[in-house]
Subunit: 463 residues, 4 copies
């Protein structure tokens, strides 16, 4: 998919009494599936047994009835879960999360959304000290740091590890007794706390809490460590907060119904569309969203402009799940499988709304589809600025040389995608729509939470 | 799903030169997946070998890479495919289509959308004459009739069989040489003809033709038999046409981008929304569609009323693919998995738009969700009349006693679903929006193509 | 495997009270797995529902826990089962048995071991009369004949069908009420009757009866139809008996512990070894069986000769279940996977005993293995005559041109397999060891139950 | 199965030029399948990529075509493989071998047959120093020790680790460059070296070498570390040798055709049978082996006694692969599935030969089968002494309280199994048959290579 790829969703729960922990986490993971489609995992414990199941695949592929059955401990009261976008091939099954390790703290499991920018130098030092790693994931460095602090309690050890780690991260961590939630001092990735009749839950986005039967309480604060002790929510402000949450969560990643740091994604998207019309109006007959990512901004643009909204592109919900033999004959036809235009666009001047452009290939294809279906003009409007820089905090935006906005001018992009006009929303427009300080590093290269020394996110792969 | 269930989609192609027939049909089936999600099948031939693969499941479940590979005949030039909604359990694998039989005509394969209302008396007579059946599907009766006419050509035999069969049906049929397309005299189910550089194709809906690389040529006419002979499209008007195509194709079943008998589904849906506002306006702050089925009518209603359209319900695209353990605890939470409201509805008077109401359970659930999310009022508007009668022509509308509109008054329905007001579009409104004669039997009980003697669609099951 | 391939095993049971029919038949099928390894199936009924599960593969591959679960009817009292050696590829899944058909008798299921030599002319006539076939199996002709006799009871119709069919066959047949067992007038294939506390059972070989908890009662007589009526075993001598059971059942096919028409296979094999020594003694140091098929005869040969028996060839029980990539490198090594010699043969003169030679390739490989392991001489002794003719009664002996004994003289065979001497048991020796009239057609070309007109067993394939 | 369970087989190869490493190791594993049936794994490297595939199941279940395909590196020159008998449930997938770790030496993989008796104290100390473990296997302690020696070469580090580890073990170890083979100073478990045209191979038993195309060169010596450097086999006598190889390898575990420390298993088994007759003759009519484990000793007993050998028990090769529903009805019948008697035993006095008795349940069942089949007397002879003590060096003999010989007198055992007489071979008899010093700890409790402090093999499970 020609969209930035979120790297993960995390989810966890702590209950006072035995519960169908695996069943609830499985249900909740389905509400976080959009945050990562390449691997999924669940860990549960009843205080004695500690079970983990994880594999490459979508949640419904990994968690067959049989596999879920293996996780059902009658006395289970705690667990955590993860859904992952992994950047490489099938042989990286060992990077699926939760990661676990048997340490002096007992068994630990960790689920992580984000990236540590100083993972490589930390890992190199640990290796020289005799450490063993099971994965090439930066997440494992956190586990190793905890194992090296056997005389601290788990919350204290987590606080100490946060002092040594840099980057953007939201983390859930558990041993046989305690469930912890950690968020980096910039709060780059979201992490919400929920209160349920049976206890507490944590999730990347509040709608996943609802599926556990928990009510949204508040967000974990930037720099905070939260955990449950004797049924009470405990908190430690590990590091001073300096909030710059990722703007892309509101632009594209988060579900429309997610409330993040006080602002709902759908509302922000509608406002981005309104801002976009103010910055870049177009003479046209209708507004057409690219489904489903452009719907919120298209509603805003239509509302601000007074132009009619038309559902001019049909998205086949069954496309993309299937195997297509890569013959040239079929590949050419396959591009028509996912999206197809309705006749509403025939003879019309269309404002086409999408949330972002990465490589430009899909945008080019959609403009061509509309023209072929008889659209007289296509005015492409994008509800975020051009993506020109890599993200080091948990998003895969594609390599720099593949980012069309890092390689071409606005006019060159317009010509490439074949639109009659093209405009992006400004950084100011994004900030106004969201209404607070945000990380815009992928647009402007200003990284609030550090960058890797080597400027290379995946340097851990080659041990 | 609390929606009427279409029974089938059909697809076939004839090529002058060898082609990746299985690959193309597989691709095209994905464009017809919405017409049937319980079984899928493909038959191909190169004039000598005749291969069939079919099973219960979605297209992407049935057609794994391995299974598709088994169908790839190097010299294949012809094939047909089917996607099915079957009404009963897993042991009815033998009813998956295409059905085949080895007869005096050689091997025959058939794919069928619709129902024969006189299947049972015909089958009883055939059995007394020594016939053997492999399935409990009414479709097989057509195969048996053809086998009994060994001295006619296949088009002549098909014409003769059509004279004996009553009901609403669109059928594709092939032997090792010829591909035929048949449509009943009322044209109840759709069937389109496409022209490709390599030959001809037939499909329930035109967007499937596009995926085969074929252009929409025209519809098969009610009562017509069409086939390809020496590269030329041949036609026989088997029975006099008396067109009353099914209104539900435009209301809900067909893809929005499908052109059926001259009218596009999306355009008809927008007009239904406009008619609905004219018939049943509401004092409100916004129009919210039930995604995705209510989107077209909501756009029409919003446009006609001048009220803002809001995407107030988020539909999780990953819901419904997964196994959920049926504990009470999880079942209650699962209802939140599929749909969840955005904050746009808080404190607002909402016009909620859906295309139809069958049992009312889902409608009741959605109204409750909106109220819980803070909607002040919910005015439910339905872009079709109340469903009160069973369909005998290929749709499963649920048993009569489950149809809420067959059991309750308008006011009782409103009270059950918890809406502040409720209105359905009139039959006249539907006809105006579609613009021609249509079958409205499920609304008014007037059946243009006959009814079964016993008034019982599934009487074949119990042989 | 370079052995003649049995085509089938059949199994059925009738109980007065509900029973775990599917579970019992599954267990019993495992005792008949040696009779067919390419497909397996079970049909069960409770008098109302009629369920069938079948597929290509071994019994344990076809009958997963889930699939067996689908067959468990709480009130089931009757069922039949089949294990098959099919002669062609994966697309012939439709030939797996039990075959079923819905007829004027209701649903019928059939399981068949053997072949009808006049299937083709019968089928051609039925097709001209409007019949439809679902498979290319000769077995289906029997079902069609029964369907054409709607006014007879099932036993009467079976008798009538037997009058029209020629060949060697043992058949189990059932509708929702009655279970029938049929054996051709020559009794070519075995079929045994068992009596259990709950009712009656039928099986190709008695050890399968033991696994159902039934005691061996007697064999079905050649030309007899047996069925259960009101709890009583009923019998009809349909055709006059003329017994010539297949000698290969004793030579190789049947389990050693099977009692067939009064003679146990193991005892007959030991006697064949004793006869073989008398006909063809050898100057040697030890007798080595080819495991497992040569063990019985080797014991007889060693006993008669006074030479020590040595287990000089180890057979790996895990070979043959796995996928081996067909590179030349691995193929060469793979031949060592199945059999390997022990050091007992080093420096010795070995009498190597096998039950038969088909193509000679395996024999040649084994002789080479022994010589490589240091055997000074290898005297090959075969406990049956040379196979020179095809079987038309249910065994696949390989095509005539592949039969080494149909192509080469004794001395040429000896030279090809590299033995120092070679001898086969005589037809008289076989008859003495078994002790009654037997079919020896594959050795001498004298066919007691007719031959196909076209001399072509698989002529049905190409409809 | 009521037999002692071997814990593992190991296999590895080093080649000068690229080779189908995964294909060869897979083939070779099939020759070691008898050493462990619960998990299998293969690791391969081309000097850069390092791939591992492993899972619970038999070799043919784990290594599907697809999974084997994932291991095929074009430039692969080295790899190792493992087949495992794991002592606990399905959630212990993480204990499947090869185990791997990323260390300062780079990636390491290890495959292990045997046990370290001091694993627990070593692990506890490592944990206090901050180590992380991925499994509950004692094997991982070796990996951790190696990781702590980053400044030594891998052979030097292995030698140093061997100084700290006690117990009985044969180990293969590799990084991206070097393949090492280690054997404990008592040589408890076997380990053979092979020479192939392309390089060197190591395997638990020589027949696996033959499947790689390698010739048996010699055994790894007790206390030796062997590895390949610049194409030359290098060796280090790490610890002084004190050979006491496990007697059970010859009694039961090893394949009959395996040459272990100079003595072939089949020959030793025949001699055990001969010794057994000398120690415990019986008045009888025939000798019947329990297939397949009693065959060698039965041949020896028959030869020494002059009594005829009869293949009086048929072993169904298809039993045991299938799922049997655990209803009482079927469980009772299932015991007949695996073994059934031939009529040879009717009216006879039988000497029944097996290699060992663990719980006695199977022995009791077999005696009952023979009596039911008409055997007049059954004289049970066992070709090894009574098992009374647990093994700490890699064999699972069942818990002490389940060992019938640890709980009952000879006469009580005889009465329990229902034999007319019973005798076991003496320790002296075993030693004479094998011909050298052997470990007999499971018979006499004298442990040559130490015992765990806690006397508890699985103490690692509960971290």
């Amino acid at each position: 998919m020609d969209k930035p790829q979120e790297e993960c969703g995390v989810l966890g729960l702590w209950s006072q009494a035995p519960l169908d922990v695996a069943g609830l986490l499985h249900l909740g993971l389905l509400a976080l599936q959009h945050r990562g489609q390449e691997a999924a995992g669940i860990a549960v414990t009843d205080g004695k047994e500690f079970l983990v199941e994880k594999d490459l695949g979508l949640v419904h592929q990994v968690f067959t009835e049989e596999r879920l059955g293996r996780l059902r401990l009658p006395g289970a009261r705690m667990g955590l879960a993860h859904t992952r976008y992994s950047t490489t091939g099938s042989n990286l099954r060992f990077n699926a999360q939760p990661l676990t390790a048997r340490t002096a703290h007992g068994v630990l499991a960790i689920a992580h959304n984000g990236n540590f920018v100083n993972a490589k130098p930390l890992r190199d030092r640990l290796l020289q000290e005799g450490a063993t790693f099971q994965s090439t994931s930066d997440t494992e460095v956190m586990l190793l740091l905890l194992a090296r602090l056997p005389h601290l309690s788990l919350p204290e050890a987590a606080l100490e590890a946060m002092r040594r780690l840099e980057g953007g991260y939201s983390i859930l961590l558990m041993d046989r007794k305690t469930l912890l939630a950690l968020r980096d001092p910039h709060g780059v990735r979201p992490l919400a706390i929920g209160k349920a009749p049976w206890g507490y839950a944590f999730a990347s986005e509040p709608p996943a809490l609802a599926l556990l039967g928990a009510e949204y309480l508040r967000d974990v604060r930037p720099g905070e460590v939260v955990w449950v002790e004797e049924g009470e929510l405990q908190s430690l402000q590990a590091l001073p907060p300096n909030p710059t949450p990722c703007a892309f969560e509101w632009i594209y990643f988060a579900r429309p119904d997610s409330l993040l740091d006080g602002t709902e994604a759908y509302a922000a998207r509608v406002r981005m569309g309104e801002e976009l019309f103010r910055e870049a109006p177009a003479e046209a007959d209708m507004v057409v969203p690219v489904p489903d990512s452009g719907i919120g901004a298209a509603i805003g643009y239509a509302r601000a402009s007074g132009l009619p909204l038309e559902y001019g592109l049909y998205k086949n919900p069954y496309a993309g799940r299937t195997f297509i033999q890569p013959t040239q004959e079929l590949r050419d036809l396959k591009t028509r499988l996912k999206l197809s235009p309705t006749s509403a666009v025939r003879g019309k001047r269309v404002v086409l709304i999408d949330d972002s452009i990465v490589r430009g290939t899909t945008s080019r294809h959609i403009v061509a589809l509309l023209k072929e279906a008889g659209a007289k003009e296509v005015h492409f409007r994008v509800s975020s600025p051009p993506i020109r820089f890599p993200c080091y905090y948990g998003i895969d935006t594609a390599a720099r040389k593949e980012l069309i906005a890092a390689q071409k001018s606005l006019e060159e992009i317009r010509a490439y995608i074949g639109a009659d006009s093209l405009a992006f929303l400004s950084e100011e427009g994004v900030k106004r729509a969201i209404g607070g300080p945000v990380c815009l590093a992928c647009f402007n290269g200003r990284y609030p939470a550090g960058v890797p020394e080597e400027g290379e996110k995946l340097a851990l792969e080659l041990l």
